[in-house]
């Protein structure tokens, strides 16, 4: 539940920033990226869609994506994502609690994009 709220709040922040944050707007202005964050069992999932400056979202795990962060369970996802810390993400991946499907370079892009707003 907490993860769902976190993902929803993150999307809200992304949407507002796409209208108001000059650096973020510039960063996403040419990008076409579909980035999914979900748990392995698919119970928690949110898609972030960036389309040359416009952002939108969808819930559910079964969307096409360029990259997906797949978390072993929602608690770990919540605690690591809240830290906003590359070491925590790296450790989660090293310990088998996180994997990236699709191209990880899009995950790096998403991380860089959100660094403008978090």
């Amino acid at each position: 539940m907490r993860l769902s709220i976190l993902l929803f709040a993150l999307y809200q922040l992304v949407w507002i920033s796409s209208k108001t944050n000059r650096a973020f707007k510039k960063f996403i202005s040419k990008a076409k990226v579909r980035f999914l964050i979900k748990t392995e069992d698919g119970k928690y999932a949110r898609l972030f869609v960036f389309d040359q400056g416009r952002v939108s979202t969808a819930t559910g795990p079964d969307h096409a994506f360029d990259a997906a962060l797949v978390w072993k369970d929602p608690k770990i996802a919540f605690s690591v994502m809240l830290k906003k810390n590359q070491v925590a993400v790296f450790n989660a991946a090293a310990e088998g609690k996180l994997k990236i499907e699709g191209m990880s370079v899009f995950a790096l892009w998403f991380d860089k994009a959100t660094s403008h707003i978090l």
């Binding site: 510039k26 960063f27 202005s29 040419k30 990008a31 076409k32 797949v70 590359q86 070491v87 790296f90 450790n91 991946a93 090293a94 310990e95 088998g96 996180l98 994997k99 990236i100 499907e101 699709g102 191209m103 990880s104 370079v105 899009f106 995950a107 790096l108 892009w109």
Partner: protein, 555 residues
């Protein structure tokens, strides 16, 4: 009185003093006498179909043999054609010796054939350049050229030899042949810097050794192995350093390729960067903001470039590691190494799955995996192209120095280097398989060099990753311009294998996964230079394209 032509004198010096046994060239009237001299002094000549390939092969020869490569080109268009290869060597700091024809001195300013100011044009892209005006001084000029190319930080040199002096005869007794340099100037870091570097290495919890071309040019495999095995530091070798320690060494993290470095570098605490530049490929050193950086470089000016070094050690990589070795402690970083490998494997989940899964249409990374299945790590691999370079760099592994090269991924981004590099690799290592994974776009630059391969019996195996496009550009345009506005990025299906067949080589077209390995085996069995044209999925975009596009999208 024994007379000798200037051209023969040049060849005599190359053979007897520099021990040059191979020269890469394309014939021309202005350089006829020196070509004849190469025959006289039994120096093997590899004559190519475009002078840029002569320069690129000589460049590659220096990478695969650790000796300066020599190319000989004629004046005018021979010179301008070679320029791309010279620039490439300049940006990669390679000891390339370019000998070039020139219009006759007697015809200066008369409108002679191929009269142009070559020196001013080549000056910005060479370490040294000169024109020799006197036959007797040819050996002296050559001696300077070789010294300049090889000493300190290496680089390309250019010597212009006018036909007036090449065709002139002189009394051999009056010529002074310089002795070959025997000294090696050594730059050493200070004791304090060495101790500080050792202290950082001994205290590190998550270190990495990142080695580049300076490792390869140092020829320091033995000392590097001792250093790595004593410190236990995970190692990634790139550029001409690749393979100095096998990609399959237990401490190597090269299996993660580009993705592995992107995953691991942001969390390391100490980086030992040896003979590697922090240029755009390493995000100018911004990828590891919190790490302590120890930089080893033969050029002291490189040490703080783009990223302040906590410790700078100026000197040859092998010599510096030799000085550090007694100062560092025996350590075991296996838990960190395991974390590193686990993390990048988690970041590469889809890529690792695709390698193991037959695909229709064929995924390029699956193609690379199938090639590796046939040849393993006892082979030399070259990849040439945009996306193709990424897949080659990521999927190939070799236990040989220079065993995996993606010359098109260097600073010049010089597509077309694949076939020249593969030819040079095969000449340097005739008993090893040499495979070039070639983009279909980049095949167009030097595909005609299969004629060179056939004339000189250099049986390389070229496998084309054919997506019928300039893939990296096409996929970028799909994002930036839209799929309906692609411009100059599509190529269409072409039977490149038939081009090679027409030239006398072996050719085969592959469209399904199951045929990749049998086709490669048939190509090997043919004993000829071979081209396997593999149709791959045109929709696949590599991470390199995304990375490349992003770097522009932020402008």
């Amino acid at each position: 009185m024994s007379k000798i032509y200037g051209g023969h004198l040049a060849a005599k010096y190359l053979k007897e003093v520099e021990h040059v046994d191979m020269v890469f060239t394309l014939s021309g009237g202005h350089i006829e006498n020196i070509l004849d001299g190469l025959t006289e002094y039994k120096i093997k000549t590899i004559d190519v179909r475009h002078e840029q390939v002569a320069a690129m092969m000589a460049h590659a020869w220096s990478v695969y043999t650790n000796k300066p490569g020599v190319c000989l080109v004629t004046a005018g268009p021979g010179f301008t054609n070679a320029l791309t290869g010279i620039v490439n060597a300049h940006l990669e700091n390679v000891p390339l010796v370019v000998l070039c024809g020139r219009h006759p001195l007697r015809d200066d300013l008369k409108g002679a054939l191929q009269e142009m100011n070559q020196i001013d044009m080549v000056k910005p892209v060479t370490k040294w350049c000169a024109t020799c005006y006197e036959t007797k001084r040819i050996p002296e000029y050559l001696s300077i050229a070789f010294r300049q190319a090889t000493m300190g930080r290496p680089g390309p040199v250019f010597l212009e030899l006018p036909p007036d002096i090449l065709f002139e005869e002189v009394d051999e007794k009056t010529v002074v042949i310089p002795k070959r340099r025997t000294h090696k100037t050594v730059t050493q870091p200070g004791k304090n810097e060495l101790e500080e570097a050792a202290r950082l290495i001994n205290q590190a919890k998550k270190p990495i050794f990142l080695g580049g071309s300076g490792v390869g040019m140092s020829g320091c495999g033995d000392i590097l192995e001792k250093f790595i095995e004593k410190t236990g530091v995970p190692i990634s070798l790139v550029n001409y350093g690749r393979g100095v320690l096998s990609d399959n060494h237990p401490l190597s993290v090269n299996g993660g390729g580009f993705t592995g470095l992107n995953a691991g570098l942001p969390v390391v605490d100490v980086i030992i960067a040896a003979g590697v530049r922090f240029n755009w490929l390493l995000q100018c050193g911004q990828l590891f903001p919190d790490a302590k950086v120890i930089r080893i470089d033969i050029d002291p000016h490189e040490i703080d470039r783009n990223r302040h070094a906590d410790v700078g050690l100026a000197g040859d990589v092998g010599q510096v590691l030799g000085q550090l070795l007694p100062l560092v402690e025996k350590r075991d970083h296996s838990p960190w190494l395991k974390s590193f490998k686990n993390a990048y494997s988690a970041f590469m989940t889809s890529e690792l799955e695709k390698r193991k899964t037959p695909s229709d249409p064929i995924h390029p990374i699956r193609l690379v995996e199938q090639i590796m299945t046939v040849f393993g790590d006892d082979a030399f691999y070259v990849a040439d192209g945009g996306d193709t370079s990424y897949y080659g760099l990521s999927g190939f592994a070799s236990k040989h120095q220079g065993g995996v090269q993606t010359p098109a991924g260097g600073l010049l981004g010089c597509l077309g280097t694949g076939i020249p590099f593969a030819l040079a690799a095969k000449l340097a290592h005739p008993d090893k398989p040499v495979i070039v994974l070639q983009g279909d776009g980049s095949f167009g630059f030097n595909g005609m060099e299969f004629d060179t391969a056939i004339r000189h019996n250099i049986p390389i195996i070229c496998i084309i990753n054919n997506d019928c496009a300039w893939g990296m550009i096409k996929h970028s345009q799909e994002v930036s311009l839209g799929a309906n506005r692609l411009t100059c990025s599509e190529l269409g299906m072409r039977h490149y294998e038939k081009v090679v067949e027409g030239l006398g080589g072996y050719g085969e077209l592959v469209t399904i996964d199951a045929e990749i390995i049998p086709a490669i085996k048939r190509a090997v069995a043919s004993g000829k230079p071979a081209c396997i044209n593999v149709m791959t999925d045109p929709t696949v975009t590599s991470p390199a394209t995304v990375f490349f596009y992003q770097s522009f999208s932020e402008l």
